[in-house]
């Protein structure tokens, strides 16, 4: 099947098998390997990307379902060599160790902050319920999201991918 998917602002037109997963389209056909696969069942959230602004788990979405969709991956977060405030905050607050879950965490946190500019810690922890991390114990991830919310409030930034 023929699909056209915009990823980080760039169009990718391909003929694909209907069963190709969006995550494999992103990783193997677009060559953007920052999106990781952790469970293939929507549980761990490592593969989270934004599809038309909504956080989705790309391991359980078919690429054909994303035909005509605007996708943003972790590679689309930095702008002109400048890290997104979420990326900066994960770095500053030691919100990652092995880094495998990090892209998905950041994409999910991005959706939270788009909906709620000043989340409480409980709201952050609840919003990240679909993203698993085995290294950090979550505490510094929560701190990173909290810190990024503060930065974005002081210095609002257009949503990633726009």
């Amino acid at each position: 099947m023929h699909v056209k998917i915009r990823i980080n602002g760039k169009p990718y037109e391909k003929d694909i098998d209907p069963r190709l997963l969006l995550t494999h389209f992103i990783r193997d056909l677009a060559g953007l390997t920052g999106t990781h696969i952790g469970c293939e069942t929507s549980i761990c959230g490592a593969c989270t990307v934004l599809a038309n602004g909504l956080a989705v788990k790309s391991c359980t979405m078919f690429a054909v379902q994303a035909d005509g969709v605007d996708v943003v991956t972790i590679e689309g977060m930095a702008r002109d060599g400048q890290l997104h405030p979420l990326q900066e905050s994960f770095w500053e607050e030691h919100g990652l160790q092995c880094g495998y879950c990090t892209p998905g965490m950041i994409m999910c946190a991005h959706q939270l902050l788009a909906r709620n500019t000043a989340p409480t810690d409980t709201e952050i922890r609840d919003a990240l319920g679909g993203n698993l991390c085995r290294c950090t114990g979550y505490q510094n991830i929560v701190a990173a999201v909290r810190s990024a919310a503060g930065k974005l409030k002081r210095e609002p930034r257009i949503a990633a991918g726009d």
Binding site: R27, H36, G129, C133
Partner: protein, 775 residues
């Protein structure tokens, strides 16, 4: 040397590539002509393989090869396992099952195809005719006469007996005023690194070197073992651990699939990739714990411990992975915990069952020990009507008694257990918590406070106590520009040693961490090393690097002294330069000395050109980090859910290189330990079918399961290494599990509860709350 960077919470050098998604894990490697491997696995826990039909799979377009057990048994060595216990029955296993399978998920056939979808299809097209055999999954049943036997060649399923007695336990128990006993079960757990296992292998031109990228904690040991396995000379093989997405012990191993990828790359001449699915990861990556311990503790009226007896059953699973029989025996060494236990008798049987092999999982043998001693201490405190903190305090060795030889047979390096306990009690407001608890109990609200004063065995370790060398290598090269390249045999996979090692090197050489690059995980670039596990990277690998730096500093002092016409003993390092001691103000720039070493036109007699040194550090002992954790839980009357409302951890890991990294390790460790206490359990049914085979069924902890942890530290440097560091990778996991269970049992004390088994799910608590009357 002045410490400008050591001890500072520096942001990690690793992170820019990780937060931007530009790093490269195994699955991110792609090569022209690359094939994908998929595995057909056993659906039975115990069965004879009567027939395998691969013809349908072979006919599928895109399939390049299909292999089965007979081919690999003829062409490849077995899956390696280390460790010797006298009279041990050691099962042998090939890369694919030959004639019999012994656990659900055991590899039977491998397919390589042009893409991963075709490979998976082909693997599913392989038809296998089984003759199912009775399975045994319960180790106590497996030990009984008449139990189904896993191996025709073994008389029974008991692989080994391991035991020792130190002191006179019979006397201790005879003279005791009080004896308490309880059975403690460490359930089976799955390590679940967020990145599953995976490997890529290729024959690389021009010399057909076999290059393997693997998500591993031990690239050099893996190369040595793979060379034997696939029969390639070790010096014609290169193993690279690229970015590794967590390990927790599960990648401290040599797996059949790594051998298969290497073999198939050789066989097909194509690069071959295998990425484990999560279902495969839960079924066929090593599991942890699975140990039953019957514990008896003998005490005097005043709470003084006289002796301890442990009867232990370790469920090894069906086969041996690299360290399967070694891990449970570590429990014996640490059974006395942080206490004076004058007499100890430890007896363990290792039992084979129709399940995946157990092996090293974060803590590896020591969480089991800590759980049993910290739980039995609470059982004893309850019986003696002593405060659990007070019972612990009365049995600690005093700081002046270190180095302290224990009845477990190890020598604790340094500690002040009481200081850590006191700090934790203060931080938690323990007295206030007890008052609040009494108040809540009156209102019919059940709150519990749990303590755990743990000690652990880290910095593994002296080579005499290790299966494959316990040393580590470190190479330091000061480049002609003055920039520094560190090559370490440690193989970090999230711990942050690219940063912490740079901090140490920067302070020693008077440069900045930005001037230092730390390289790890590539056998072609780095001298032979052991790897990262057992909280060893900084204490052993960091020390090797530190010693190499000292060699270079001595050499640079000689060169500097020669150029300044003084003697090397008068030179010292200062930021950016080497200065003559004594305030004369004479100095020479660091870069000038480095340049002189490479220009080599004016070197002192006997000094060779260049600035590179390699050291191999052999530690004289393990290190023994310790601490006290305090956990507060409140039980939900309606659901039984134990909710953690407060968590305090005071840990002592010796000197701290980067507090940010130490806190991160403690946070993550606590969550993994709490998850054992409350959530996680690998469950097989009685036929050996895996019931928790996906993350839908295996309960990993999530962000909203925890409050904000409160952390503090005491600092007792280790005398075992010049850095004074002890290691912190496993502390949180080891300390937290018993603290949580102690808290739940404490909350249930009004119901006469003295013990509850892990994982403490809501249902177990709910039954107690609804079924019994509170006193």
């Amino acid at each position: 040397m002045t410490q400008r960077y050591v001890g500072q919470a520096l942001k990690r050098k690793e992170d820019p590539r990780l937060v931007s998604g530009t790093s490269s894990y195994v699955d991110d490697i792609s090569m022209p002509g690359m094939l994908h491997m998929a595995i057909t696995r056993s659906i039975h826990a115990h069965a004879r393989i009567k027939r395998i039909d691969i013809s349908k799979a072979q006919r599928l377009p895109g399939v390049h090869a299909v292999i089965t057990g007979e081919e690999v048994a003829a062409n490849c060595g077995p899956v390696p396992s280390a460790g010797e216990i006298p009279n041990m029955k050691r099962p042998q296993r090939y890369l694919l099952a030959v004639s019999k399978v012994r656990f659900v998920g055991e590899p039977i056939a491998a397919v390589v195809a042009a893409d991963k979808y075709i490979a998976r299809d082909a693997a599913d097209f392989i038809e296998i005719e089984y003759e199912p055999l009775p399975a045994v999954v319960n180790p106590e049943k497996a030990m009984q006469p008449g139990s189904p036997r896993l191996y025709d060649e073994f008389s029974d399923n008991v692989s080994y007996h391991f035991g020792f007695e130190s002191g006179n336990t019979e006397e201790a128990f005879k003279s005791a005023n009080v004896v308490v006993k309880e059975r403690f079960i460490n359930q089976r757990l799955a390590p679940i690194a967020m990145e599953t296992r995976g490997a890529v292998a290729t024959l690389q031109m021009p010399d057909n070197e076999l290059v393997i990228w693997s998500s591993t904690q031990i690239p050099h040991l893996l190369r040595t073992q793979l060379a034997l396995m696939v029969r390639v000379p070790e010096n014609r093989m290169r193993v690279i651990a690229p970015e590794v997405g967590g390990g927790f012990g599960s990648k401290l191993n040599v797996y059949a699939e790594e051998g298969l990828v290497a073999y198939l790359a050789k066989k097909t001449g194509h690069p071959v990739k295998w990425i484990e699915s999560r279902r495969e990861n839960i079924a066929a990556t090593i599991h942890g714990r699975d140990q039953i311990d019957d514990v008896e503790l003998a005490l005097k009226k005043d709470g003084t411990i006289l002796g301890m007896r442990v009867k232990s059953i370790a469920d090894l699973g069906a086969y041996f992975q690299l360290l399967t029989p070694i891990i449970p025996t570590l429990t014996g060494l640490l059974a006395p915990g942080a206490y004076k236990v004058p007499a100890l008798k430890f007896d363990q049987v290792g039992v084979l069952t129709n399940k995946m092999a157990t092996d090293a999982y974060r803590g590896a043998g020591r969480p089991e020990a800590t759980y049993l001693i910290e739980r039995i201490m609470d059982v004893a405190a309850q019986k003696l009507k002593l405060d659990p903190a007070e019972l612990r305090r009365r049995n600690f060795p005093r700081p002046n008694e270190f180095p302290y030889k224990t009845s477990g047979g190890v020598i604790y390096d340094s500690a002040d257990y009481e200081k850590a306990l006191d700090r934790a009690l203060e931080l938690a407001d323990y007295k206030g918590l007890r008052l609040k608890q009494a108040e809540l109990w009156k209102q019919g609200k059940y709150m519990g406070i749990g303590l755990s004063s743990y000690v652990e065995i880290c910095a593994m370790g002296p080579s005499t106590a290790m299966p494959a060398g316990g040393w580590e290598s470190g190479t330091v090269r000061i480049e002609p520009s003055g920039k520094v390249t560190v090559l370490t045999g440690a193989s970090p996979h999230g711990q942050g040693q690219e940063t912490s090692f740079a901090q140490i090197a920067a302070d020693e050489l008077g440069i900045t961490p930005d001037d230092v690059v730390v390289i790890h995980g590539d056998t072609a670039r780095i001298p032979y090393g052991i790897g990262t596990f057992g909280s060893r990277a900084t204490a052993v690998g960091g020390t090797a690097m530190f010693l190499a730096i000292q060699d270079l500093k001595e050499k640079m002092k000689k060169i500097a002294a020669h150029l300044l016409e003084t003697t090397p003993d008068k030179m010292e390092f200062s930021p950016g330069k080497l200065v003559v001691k004594g305030g004369s103000g004479r100095s020479i720039n660091y870069t000038e000395v480095v340049g002189a070493a490479y220009m080599a036109r004016n070197l002192p007699p006997g000094v060779e050109p260049g600035l590179e040194a390699t050291r191999f550090f052999e530690p004289s002992n393990f290190t023994f980090p310790f601490g006290t954790h305090v956990c507060v839980v409140e039980l939900d009357w309606e659901t039984g859910e134990p909710k953690i409302t407060k968590y305090v951890a005071v840990d002592d890991c010796g000197n701290v290189i980067n507090p940010l990294l130490v806190e991160g390790q403690v946070h993550g460790g606590i969550v993994q330990g709490v998850a054992q206490a409350l959530h996680e359990e690998v469950v097989y049914d009685e036929n050996g079918q895996l019931l928790t085979g996906s993350l839908m069924d295996y309960a990993l902890p999530r962000a909203h399961d925890f409050p904000e942890f409160e952390l503090d530290r005491t600092v007792t440097p280790s005398p075992v290494n010049p850095l004074g560091v002890k290691g912190v990778g496993e502390a949180g996991t080891i300390g937290s599990t018993p603290a949580v269970v102690n808290a739940v049992v404490d909350a249930l004390a009004p119901f006469g509860v003295t013990h509850i088994d892990m994982p403490v799910r809501s249902e177990k608590v709910w039954k107690i709350l609804k079924g019994r009357k509170a006193s």
